[in-house]
Amino acid sequence: MKVLIIGCGRVGSTVAKRLFSEGWDVTAVDEKEGALSRLGEDWTGDFVVGHGMDTDVLREAGIDDAEAVVVATDGDNTNIVIGQVAQKRFGIECTVVRILDPARAEFYRQRGLRTVCPTSTAIDVLTEAVRSCEIRREPEQVKT
């Protein structure tokens, strides 16, 4: 099974390595050649330098044979467009898109894009973490 990872930053590179270790055929795409180093010296998956908006780059990365695409560049709108191109133009149903802005993530989720919003997740987790703290209340001061 083949997966394309568009945007090989902290998130993309780690997802790439994880899926690779689970037996996926992984191609990472990033516009900076230096991003390859994030995949580690022993990376034996593929790596393509180029912009994910460029369909020639997507084709070179093998999108025509891919079963899944992960879009995780550092730009929300870039991810939104690339995700829709992968889904609508190349017909890849399992297209997963990172969108940091909760409002846009929700809008595009309603329109059928699989969006992941780390901001919403962080909000939920942080709120829940505070709720679950056992806070020892200071004994109320006795009025004299």
């Binding site: 929300d76 467009v81 191109v85």
Partner: protein
């Protein structure tokens, strides 16, 4: 008319100025602070600082009314696409116009149903083609909705159709001649029109039929 403009560069600011001069109501959104301050000095409260792809910014700018027209004129094609999608599909804006900065992104705008679009580079390239005679088939107009285009071809001495009538040509399926321009005068191409070297012929055809048409008219 109420118009919402995203992007206060040269295009956005000039369009804004013109709309206001013609007594339209308009809001201009610009995300760069320095640029915004210059715009604010001129347009006052009608200029707004913010990222026009953020929903709360659009709402503050009045997208809920909704505007009669949204112009996505930023220097980022991704941003322009998202602005248009939000305007049309979330807020029911009936008319959007988007700027295409990189002509390679045109296909993405088309895929997402964003139309009409304006691309300076493509327009300039069209004019360049028109000026450079060695391009034998000049693209004059793209009718995107109709999936047709209008091209211009110059008939020369070596052309196999020189001296022939239009009705005798075996034009490719999906291509028709429109008019013939000779000695500065143009006439509609009918069956009896005879083609001569030096004629400038306009043809309408489906995209992708250019090579076939070129073969028939110019034999190359």
């Amino acid at each position: 008319m109420y118009v919402l403009i995203a992007g206060g560069g040269k295009a956005g600011a000039n369009v804004m100025r013109t709309l206001l001069r013609n007594s339209h109501e308009a809001t201009l959104i610009e995300q760069d602070r320095d640029r915004f301050e210059r715009l604010e000095a001129e347009f006052e409260h009608q200029a707004m600082l913010g990222d026009a792809t953020e929903i709360y910014v659009l709402e503050k700018a009045g997208i809920r009314r909704p505007p009669d027209l949204v112009l996505a004129l930023t220097g980022d094609d991704e941003d322009n696409m998202v602005i248009c999608q939000l305007a049309k599909e979330k807020y029911g804006v009936s008319k959007v116009i988007a700027r295409v900065n990189d002509p390679r992104n045109q296909a993405h705008f088309d895929l997402l149903g964003i139309s009409p679009t304006v691309c300076a580079t493509s327009s300039i390239m069209g004019l360049v083609e028109h000026e450079v005679p060695e391009h034998e088939l000049v693209h004059l107009l793209e009718l995107r909705k109709e999936n047709l285009e209008i091209v211009e071809v110059q008939i020369d001495k070596g052309s196999p159709v020189a001296g022939k009538k239009v009705e005798s040509l075996s034009l490719p399926e999906g291509a028709r001649l429109i008019s013939v321009m000779r000695d500065g005068r143009s006439e509609i191409a009918v069956g009896a029109t005879e083609l001569q070297p030096g004629d400038q012929v306009l043809a309408i055809l489906q995209p992708g039929k250019e090579d076939e048409l070129r073969r028939v008219l110019l034999k190359r």
